[in-house]
């Protein structure tokens, strides 16, 4: 066993503690700070310091030490909180995050940044408290090396005693915590003897692990000063006895300060931990794949049974039905493992909004709704960037300055709402502000400047879609927050690549709402099977609007062989699937085929297919794992009979149809062509 094995655990836990610290800092009411919150912030800094000490992350330890001291003053009411102090604390928290990242990457954190933040913290202590001796100044560098020496001193005798007995002393610990720790210890080795009371409880452990490892295991439950681990060599107890005696003198005083307050949350955190495990996403994905296979195998069995027709009184069919139900339950259960609450995403925004509002001199209140709504973990990571962009836009362009708001008869402080809710198989995420709304005239004027076709007759909805065009911005001045016009098109593309879509609702003077509709997961897709010739393809249901049988009167031939289909008031281009996908023997007469009206990347068109087979959920399989990207195809899936069906890419198919017409000798196999295709996607 090696202490580095615990690094990952420490990084994860420290990361969570930092996040918790930030949340509390942001929620703090400066005029009447909640004592429990101040305590929580202090505890977080303290725990990180403890861990950093154990693992020898010196920069982290120094920074947390300074921060912790300041936090200690605030929680004792000796340092009154102000907005700028909270800013410094937040800055320190960011620095800790950077340091953590550096250590995670196996590097030493930037020493200049470390000096800078330490200086800032010392300065604060000096100005506010005038007690540089206690908090910063000369006293600071000392504790670090001293604690380091302590840590170094203990592992020293280990080589001889590594596989021996250890005396673990638990100081000032309530019974509940103690029991948890003893259980923890029992997993490391054999507990020979345990005795003592709340103030000092000794456990003799027979184990092959080293003292440092025992400490590392326990340091997230107990405070470092509550813990003493010393080796007890079976025969000669002399060196161990001295080692055992030395630490208590140093470790004695600190727990006396706030023993009760510290322990409760530690216990709570512990009980939460014991009911959950951390698993790499790749393992979950593997299970999801296997379950997908199980379902395919099950439907293959079903088809076999139907075609063979020999079933002894339906027993086999009953068994298969049961298998089908179990397999589907299993699939749902496994899929739910990948789901994480939207809180994971939303929790980043209070800080962003606070910082941005400060920078832009605006007053903004952030409201989040539906934090517990669950979304696929892979999607939550991808949604953060687009959402950040939308929030920036809302703050920069949407919400007006307090003066303008007052002049318009609104409250000085604007309101930004982030919400999430489930709707069918989709999740609906909205970014809503109560700002000035989009300016139709300005957008139209700008669109024309950019050479986009923008007739006055466009509906509001269509006008709002214009801002997703590349390079589009109506902001009068480019700020460092937003306004460069790179972005909205990226937002749209990102969301489309996740299989979702973006809508904008806006009322002049009332505000703007951007709505993102996303599928709950990328691993499973609601598909519509279509038949073209003898081949089966899958269309994503999200892109399908309706289907109809074209009448001869509704078809309008255009120059160049294009066909337009009149659907109520609209004329839509008719794309023949069989020509785009090179299928022989398909229906070529539109009036005998079926037109599926689809929408991809804002463009609507009609797709000509032979037959609609049915709707089913399909497991999405990447084509690029073993092959390459195929124009007009987004992925593949496996049908009930074990054969592969291609999932059509609605937007790509449209382009494919167009480019084929432009270039009759077009062959997708030529590298130049596919490069262009990929760039377009």
């Amino acid at each position: 066993m090696d202490i580095t094995e615990f690094y990952d655990t420490f990084f994860e836990e420290a990361g969570e503690l930092l996040l918790e610290m930030e949340t509390h800092l942001l929620e703090l009411d400066l005029d009447a700070p909640d004592a429990e919150q101040l305590n929580a912030i202090f505890r977080a800094a303290h725990s990180i310091k403890g861990g950093a000490g154990t693992f020898g992350f010196e920069a982290l330890q120094r920074t947390t030490h300074l921060l912790e001291n300041l936090l200690d003053y605030t929680r004792r009411g000796e340092l009154a909180l102000r907005r700028d102090i909270v800013d410094i604390f937040l800055e320190a928290k960011d620095m800790l995050n950077d340091q953590l990242d550096a250590y995670r990457g196996g590097e030493e954190p930037d020493p200049e940044a470390l000096e800078r933040i330490c200086q800032t913290l010392r300065q604060l202590a000096l100005e506010e408290l005038g007690e540089d001796a206690d908090v910063g100044g000369g006293a600071v560098p000392e504790p670090a090396p001293r604690e380091k020496q302590e840590k170094n001193a203990e592992p020293a005798p280990q080589p001889e005693t590594a596989s021996g007995r250890h005396c673990v002393a638990l100081l000032d610990m309530v019974e509940k915590d103690r029991q948890l720790l003893v259980e923890e210890l029992a997993q490391l080795g054999d507990v020979e003897r345990q005795s003592g009371d709340d103030s000092r409880y000794e456990v003799i452990l027979q184990s092959t692990v080293s003292a440092a490892d025992i400490e590392a295991v326990m340091c997230f439950v107990a405070e470092p000063e509550q813990l003493q681990v010393s080796a007890l060599p079976a025969a000669q107890a002399a060196p161990a006895a001295t080692a055992e005696k030395a630490p208590p003198a140093k470790a004695g005083p600190p727990p006396a300060e706030a023993p009760a307050a510290k322990k409760k949350p530690a216990a709570a955190a512990k009980s939460g931990e014991s009911t959950s495990i951390r698993v790499p996403v790749s393992k979950v994905d593997q299970i999801i794949n296997l379950v997908g296979e199980l379902i395919i195998t099950q439907s293959m069995l079903n088809q076999q049974l139907e075609s063979s027709g020999s079933d002894d009184g339906g027993k086999l069919a009953n068994g298969l039905n049961l298998l089908a139900r179990n397999a589907r339950d299993l699939q749902e259960a496994v899929m739910s493992v990948r789901m994480v609450p939207m809180d994971y995403v939303f929790s980043r925004f209070p800080r962003l909004v606070r910082d941005l509002a400060g920078k832009l001199d605006k007053e903004v209140e952030l409201v989040t709704e539906g934090k517990s709504t669950e979304l696929d973990k892979g999607l939550t990571e991808k949604i953060i960037d687009p959402l950040t962009h939308l929030v920036r836009n809302s703050l920069d362009h949407g919400i007006e300055s307090p003066e303008r708001r007052e002049a318009a008869g609104k409250s000085r402080s604007g309101c930004l709402t982030l919400s999430a809710q489930h709707q069918g198989g989709n999740i609906l995420i909205e970014v809503a502000d109560d700002g000035g709304g989009l300016n139709r005239e300005k957008i139209l004027a700008r669109a024309r400047e950019n050479g986009l076709s923008a007739p006055d007759s466009m509906s509001d909805e269509e006008v709002w879609q214009l801002i997703f065009a590349p390079g589009f911005s109506t902001a009068e001045a480019v700020s460092d927050v937003s306004g460069r016009g790179v972005g909205m098109d990226v937002v749209k593309r990102n969301i489309q690549s996740m299989g979702g879509r973006v809508e904008i609702l806006s009322q002049p003077g009332q505000g703007t709402t951007t709505r993102i509709v996303l599928p709950l997961t990328l691993a499973i897709l609601d598909g519509m099977s279509i038949r073209v010739g003898t081949e089966t393809f899958i269309l994503p249901v999200t892109g399908v609007i309706e289907s109809l049988q074209p009448q001869p009167d509704d078809l309008f031939p255009m120059a160049g062989g294009d066909l337009l289909l009149k659907v109520r008031e609209d004329y839509l281009p008719l794309v023949a699937t069989h020509s785009a996908m090179e299928v022989d023997g398909a229906e070529t007469d539109p009036t005998r085929a079926i037109a599926v009206i689809v929408q991809g990347e804002g463009r609507r068109y009609a797709l000509m297919v032979d037959e609609l087979v049915g709707q089913q959920q399909v497991v999405v399989k990447n084509l690029e794992t073993n092959y390459r990207k195929v124009p007009g195809v987004s992925a593949a899936t496996i049908l009930g009979d074990g054969s592969v069906a291609l999932i059509l890419d609605i937007a790509g198919l449209d382009r494919l149809g167009q480019s084929k017409k432009e270039n009759p000798i077009f062959a997708a196999a030529s590298p130049a062509r596919s490069a262009q295709e990929i760039e377009l996607t």
Binding site: N289, L290, G292, E293, I296, E535, A580, M581, E582, V583, K621, N622, L623, E624, T625, N626, Y627, R628, K629, V630, P631, G632, V633, A636, I638, D641, G642, S643, V644, A645, L646, L656, A667, A668, A669, P671, S674, A675, I678
Partner: protein
């Protein structure tokens, strides 16, 4: 091949090859690249791909492209019958199936049995060959399947930077 030769597989210089036939010719590939051999069935065609890419098939949940080497090497007779098999090979973390007429043997070749190959023609450039194998009266074309399948002209792998 003598038994003695078979027993010295582990010796330096000797390599094992999977021998298959395309038309009347015998080819061989390094057996370490071969994952499995299966029948030719249920291949889904892919549009706008070169002719020799037959499509993709389901290999126990993995989508695998299927390449017909007979089309790639421009053989005249290309039939799909019960003898037609797919050799599933593993190259650079990818799984690819290659269609061949028949798999015949696993052979061990000593270093001195492997001769440099002369230039054949356009369908199989020298770069994709490990050499020619001499086996009594038989001649085996030793194909470097990894180089062949990852080559640009196979269009199986997207080029870097694309």
């Amino acid at each position: 091949m003598s038994n003695a030769a078979k027993e010295t597989v582990a010796e330096a210089g000797s390599r094992e090859f999977l021998v298959f036939s395309l038309g009347d010719e015998e080819y061989a590939i390094d057996i370490l690249k071969v994952q499995e051999i299966r029948g030719y069935e249920n291949v889904t065609r892919i549009a706008n791909a070169p002719e020799f890419i037959k499509g993709v098939a389901n290999l126990r949940g993995i989508i695998v492209p299927i390449v017909d080497l007979r089309l790639k090497f421009r053989l005249e007779k290309v039939e799909y019958d019960e003898q037609t098999v797919v050799i599933v090979v593993n190259i650079e973390d990818r799984v690819v199936g290659i269609v061949v007429d028949r798999v015949s043997d696993v052979m061990t070749l000593e270093a001195e049995q492997i001769k440099p190959a002369p230039e054949f023609g356009v369908s199989l450039p020298l770069a994709y060959l490990d050499g020619l194998g001499n086996l009594d009266e038989r001649m085996l074309v030793l194909v470097n399947i990894e180089k062949l399948l990852t080559s640009e002209e196979m269009a199986l792998v997207e080029e870097v930077g694309e």
